[in-house]
Amino acid sequence: MGLRTAVQTREVLRVLLERSQAEHYGLEISKAAGLAPGVLYPILAQLERDGWLESDWEKIDEHVVKRRRRRYYSLTPDGLTGAQRTLAVPLDRLPPQMARPLSPGWAVEL
């Protein structure tokens, strides 16, 4: 993973950590993190692949609220710890090994 993706991933983690759960769907995360949807979805998929994120359908009756249900993302326990550790390291101190593929352990090894 390049430095750019690492920085973008931090932004996504920050949004998931700091914003309320009600805003954890693609469009809102993309807005809050300042990332285009084309950038965001691969990051979400990676975090899901690595077990940091889970996703599930919004619990609404589409027919009653007259809109489609959204897909909501939430941090897993691993993701929560990982996100906190990741964000604890200031950006200017990110070491070069950031260029490695993302994995649940990557933040811990910094």
């Binding site: 084309g38 998929a45 077990g51 489609r68 959204r70």
Partner: protein
């Protein structure tokens, strides 16, 4: 994929923009659906639905939606590659609440019926099974059309009696001449509630019927075998006024209810709760005209997992006990209030139909 996106952005978009913006939302939906095709199959439904919800929620103009669609389309191969790395045991079944993925490899009676009506909401497996039934009963397509026409005449009859609320149980796949179409011709404000227990039917019905006019159309999942669940459903109670007459439509559905589940008691229970002036519309397959062939057709349906019970005229008449049958009573559907000359092949329509009123 890349070629397609190039084409869309270079040729189609300027063209469509100059034609007005109306096509753009459809194009955006279409693009995201195409994009999902490069994802692993078990994730396709999820991303199609996820992106559809995002498209709906996007603020701003239609161009914004298209931009969203183009962006996720370009990245779809990358997303697909990431998803393929997820170990199989962690893949959850891609559910969309109560609407499962439609299995197109197993024939389904609602889609077979749709095929008989000349509709397009059917798959190869449905067509194969439908043709097997048609080989036994060549008139089956005519029967499906005759049944549909009966539904139309019966709904019109009820609307002309002043009934403005329709409870259509066992809706089937939407097709031209559905209850809403007919009821609206008489009263644009008619309330229609569609009830079906079949997720395939529901997903189609919700998409097509409710979006057209959500204020006057309600679609709910319930099972006819539990009439109290239907009568007490909060959405139904919100949509219908049980103090006013309601037309209860049980068109081509009671023959899916075996005797063990006591279909007559179900009809009785439903009508018990309706206000005076309400009516019930029933059509039902019968073996009276050729018991042997009817039995073969029932067996063919059984192979698709659908249990059908062909019933005699006497058995069907029992459904109307305590109600007042509208003339001419229980007849083959083409003979119920015909609005054109009855064609010769109508004799081959092995469906009884009738309307009865609650006084």
């Amino acid at each position: 994929m890349k070629m397609m996106i190039l084409f869309v952005s270079a040729v189609a978009v300027p063209l469509l923009v100059s034609e007005g913006y109306d096509w753009l939302p459809y194009l955006a939906r279409w693009l995201t659906r195409q994009a999902a095709r490069v994802l692993p199959p078990e994730y396709r439904r999820r991303y199609i639905d996820e992106w559809a919800a995002e498209l709906d929620a996007l603020p701003g103009g239609k161009i914004t939606r298209l931009a969203f669609a183009v962006r996720v389309s370009i990245k779809a191969p990358k997303i697909g590659a990431i998803l393929r790395e997820i170990p199989a045991h962690r893949v959850k079944i891609p559910e969309k609440a109560d609407i499962p993925e439609i299995d197109s490899t197993v024939a389904h009676p609602a889609r077979m019926y749709n095929y008989f009506l000349g509709g397009r909401d059917n798959y190869e497996a449905d067509r194969v099974a439908a043709r097997r039934v048609a080989a036994i009963i060549p008139g089956i397509q005519e029967m499906a059309r005759a049944n549909r026409a009966f539904l139309g005449r019966a709904v019109r009859f009820a609307a002309e009696q002043g009934i403005r609320q329709f409870l259509d149980i066992g809706t089937g796949l939407p097709a031209p001449g559905n209850t809403t179409d007919v009821a609206r011709q008489i009263d644009p404000d008619a309330q229609v509630v569609y009830v079906d227990n079949d997720p395939i039917v529901l997903s189609h019905a919700r998409a097509m019927l409710a979006k057209g006019d959500p204020l006057h159309t309600t679609v709910i999942r319930a099972d006819l075998r539990d009439p109290d669940a239907i009568l007490n459903d909060p959405q139904i109670r919100a949509a219908l006024d049980f103090g006013q007459p309601i037309a209860v439509l049980l068109v081509a559905v009671l023959h899916f209810i075996p005797d063990n589940d006591d279909p007559a008691a179900i009809v009785h229970r439903l009508m018990e709760r309706m206000a005076p002036g309400s009516c019930v519309v029933i059509s039902h397959g019968t073996g009276d005209f050729d018991p042997k062939k009817a039995a073969e057709a029932v067996n063919t349906y059984a192979q698709t997992g659908a249990q059908i019970v062909a019933r005699s005229k006497q058995e069907i008449e029992r459904f109307f006990d305590e109600l007042e049958l509208v003339e001419p009573g229980v007849v083959q559907v083409p003979w119920w209030h015909p609005d054109t000359e009855i064609p010769q092949e109508a004799a081959e329509v092995w469906w009884y139909g009738a309307v009865a009123r609650k006084s």
